[in-house]
């Protein structure tokens, strides 16, 4: 067996997976997006741009997603960074593992169950009742964009914490000492040494959370009470309610394109901020 055949054989499982699970379904969606809806729903083959011409009908869903996904990513980053910093820099080696495990523990239960817990917490008998008790009356949390944001940050926080933790954990502590020896105050050391060196982790975390958020539908459906409408929710309705597969496919293709463009711009931006670094991890 030559080196070449051996390489091909080893690549075969991943290649087959890639073909069957990515290329084929995406092609089907792409082809469907040029079709038409049957009289009772479903898909009828055609070659028309009608579905793409209809896209403005889902503009609101795209707008909501494009607002809440970056907001959710930023909120997750602001909460995750100090936590990751604490875990990587401040915690003793003895406790590090335990605390890291605690970060993942929520992942052991389904997001569905955890979202139901939030429905209770944010509902009238949860936090608002507590606020009422201390004199702040009439607060409504559940089924608002805010409750969706809470659910998003909660659900995706570990995905943000881990990449940042890894980049901070690998940080060469001697650089911090050098900075301090050269007279920099801690805040300046953070801004000029720690933060730039943790950019790969931030970039990875933001990317992971952002991409998943663009397709999110469960959290807005459960914590938004059906009133907060993402592209994911539009897709579910198009396929399962109005059964307009052709239009649903066009919306899905558009979402993929929007994501590709956003991510490309984002990567350009990150590589400029991070300088010409090759360790800006993608995944």
């Amino acid at each position: 067996m030559t080196q070449r055949t051996r390489n091909l054989l080893l690549l075969a499982p991943a290649g087959a997976w890639f073909l069957l699970m990515l290329i084929v379904p995406l092609s089907v969606v792409f082809i469907f997006s040029f079709g038409e809806r049957g009289p009772a729903g479903g898909y009828v083959p055609a070659l028309t741009l009608e579905q793409y011409a209809n896209l403005p009908a889902r503009w609101a869903a795209f707008r909501n997603t494009m607002i809440l996904a970056p907001t959710g990513t930023l909120a997750a980053l602001l909460i995750a960074y100090p936590l990751a910093y604490f875990l990587a820099v401040k915690v003793s080696a003895k406790w590090k593992m335990t605390l890291l495990v605690l970060v993942i523990v929520p992942f052991w239960t389904s997001i569905l169950i955890r979202s139901y817990a939030w429905i209770f917490l944010l509902g009238g008998r949860g936090i608002p009742a507590l606020l009422d008790w201390i004199g702040i009356e009439g607060v409504r949390l559940i089924n608002t964009p805010f409750s969706v944001l809470v659910g998003i940050v909660y659900g995706y926080l570990p995905l943000m914490v881990f990449p940042i933790f890894v980049s901070l954990d690998r940080l060469d502590k001697r650089l911090l000492e050098a900075s301090s020896d050269l007279g920099a105050r801690p805040w300046r050391t953070f801004l000029q040494v720690t933060l730039p060196l943790s950019i790969p982790g931030i970039a990875t975390g933001c990317m992971l959370v952002f991409i998943l958020l663009m397709g999110e539908y469960l959290i807005p459906a459960l914590l938004g009470g059906g009133k907060v409408f993402f592209v994911g929710n539009a897709l579910v309705d198009l396929f399962l309610q109005s059964r307009n597969w052709a239009f649903g496919s066009a919306v899905a293709v558009t979402l993929v394109v929007v994501m590709l463009i956003t991510v490309t711009i984002y990567m350009r931006f990150i590589s400029r901020v991070g300088g010409t670094r090759d360790d800006v991890a993608l995944m």
């Binding site: 609101a60 869903a61 409504r140 009470g225 009133k227 409408f229 309610q241 109005s242 307009n244």
Partner: protein, 386 residues
């Protein structure tokens, strides 16, 4: 959990049967080792109607049957009894809308054996060749003469029987009278007006275009089934005006009504009955302008993987004794006279299940076109994303 008799294999079963026939073992021994003794005892207790017929031997109809149905819609004890009687375990898939069921069946390979379509969907299923004509020879408990024809006729298309009646109901709304300040709500006009007033942030509408748009149309006294663009535009304007005042757009309204977050919601009969039974302050109201009356059916999709079990389950659930237990659990009226004969008088006089004639008269059955109309689907999407 009570200890079940151990299952025996088909081969062992046949061997024991041979021995019993030859007279080498007693009947009691045979019934004990095969588990049929216990099964027939439970069966006898649960469904005396089935007694004259031979019980299914374990494994005869397979080990499971998959039922696609709606939430809070069955008595789980009946499923246990079915499993005891036939050896087939009932796997329940719960759905939120007829569209979702139709979408799954259109996509193919659902694995369902029995499903519960609503009256207005059946012609579409027949047109799309998705359900099979029922073989009534396999449904001895089905007595066509026992049903109120209003709730049975949608089951037949072009003279062929495709679906048998499960129960019927209405679509009205539930309102918690603790918050109405003595005001009586009796119309869809009242529903949408109070939503934009003192009930702001407390009202729920279904995540279902048929009922949400249909009831908004009733605000203007249009038909529940209207697909007229000008009338739909009025309904859309009303819904979008109300949206900032809604607590949620969801068909799962019981939890929020129960915990007090929501004060009012569009609702179906059975949910109204269940909520009213537990919290008397929550009443069920039919809009005086009208609204929807509907009936649900049992049907078998084409290519059902456990077809024999599907018929066995439908037949079992049509047994009046079983059906009466179902009605007591889900709180929807049955169209079957045999079942009603077994129900307590108080239930048959319940105004939630059996509303007064003047409230029933203006109600409309949903139409097939109402479900499949693309303009109504788009209206719903605009309403939800507004």
């Amino acid at each position: 959990m009570t200890k079940q008799p151990d299952h025996i294999s088909k081969k062992q079963f046949m061997e024991e049967l041979q021995r019993y026939r030859k007279g080498s073992v007693t009947r009691r021994h045979f019934l004990n080792v095969t588990g049929l003794g216990a099964a027939s005892a439970v069966l006898g207790a649960a469904v005396p109607g089935l007694r004259p017929r031979p019980a299914f031997a374990a494994g005869e109809i397979g080990d499971r049957v998959v039922l696609a149905t709606w939430p809070n819609y069955h008595d789980p004890e009946n499923f246990d009894a079915f499993t005891e009687a036939t050896g087939a375990h009932v796997q329940v898939n719960v759905f939120g809308s007829n569209e979702e069921m139709l979408a799954k069946l259109q996509a193919g390979a659902t694995g369902w054996d029995v499903f519960v379509p609503t009256n207005y969907t059946i012609t579409t299923y027949v047109g799309e060749d998705l359900i099979e004509p029922l073989d009534t020879a396999l449904l001895p408990n089905y007595d066509p003469n026992a049903y109120d024809p209003r709730f049975a006729e949608a089951g037949s298309v072009d003279g062929k029987l495709y679906a048998v009646p499960k129960d019927w109901g209405t679509t009205g709304f539930v309102v918690n009278t603790d918050h109405t300040g003595g005001k009586t709500l009796d119309s869809w006009k009242g529903f949408f007006d109070i939503t934009r007033d003192t009930f702001s942030g407390r009202t729920m509408v279904h995540d279902y275009q048929l009922t949400t748009i249909g009831n908004a149309l009733k605000y203007f006294d249009y038909s529940f089934n209207s697909v007229d663009p000008a009338e739909l535009a009025d309904a859309e304007k009303l819904l979008i005006e109300c949206k900032p005042h809604l607590f949620a757009i969801s068909s799962d309204y019981q939890p929020s009504m129960r915990n007090g977050d929501a004060w009012m919601s569009m609702a179906w009969t059975g949910d109204g009955k269940q909520l009213n039974a537990d919290i008397p302050a929550i009443i069920y109201v039919l809009g005086k302008e009208g609204g929807e009356i509907w009936s649900d059916y049992y049907a078998v999709p084409k290519g059902a993987p456990h077809r024999a079990a599907a018929y066995a389950l439908i037949n079992f659930l049509l047994d009046p004794k079983v059906n009466a237990k179902e009605v007591l659990a889900h709180g929807y009226p049955s169209a079957d006279a045999h079942t009603n004969a077994l129900l307590p008088e108080s239930l048959l006089n319940d105004p939630i299940l059996y509303p007064a004639q003047e409230l029933l008269s203006p109600l409309e059955f949903g139409a097939a076109v109402t479900l499949t109309d693309p303009n109504r689907a788009e209206l719903m999407a605009r309403f939800k994303s507004a």
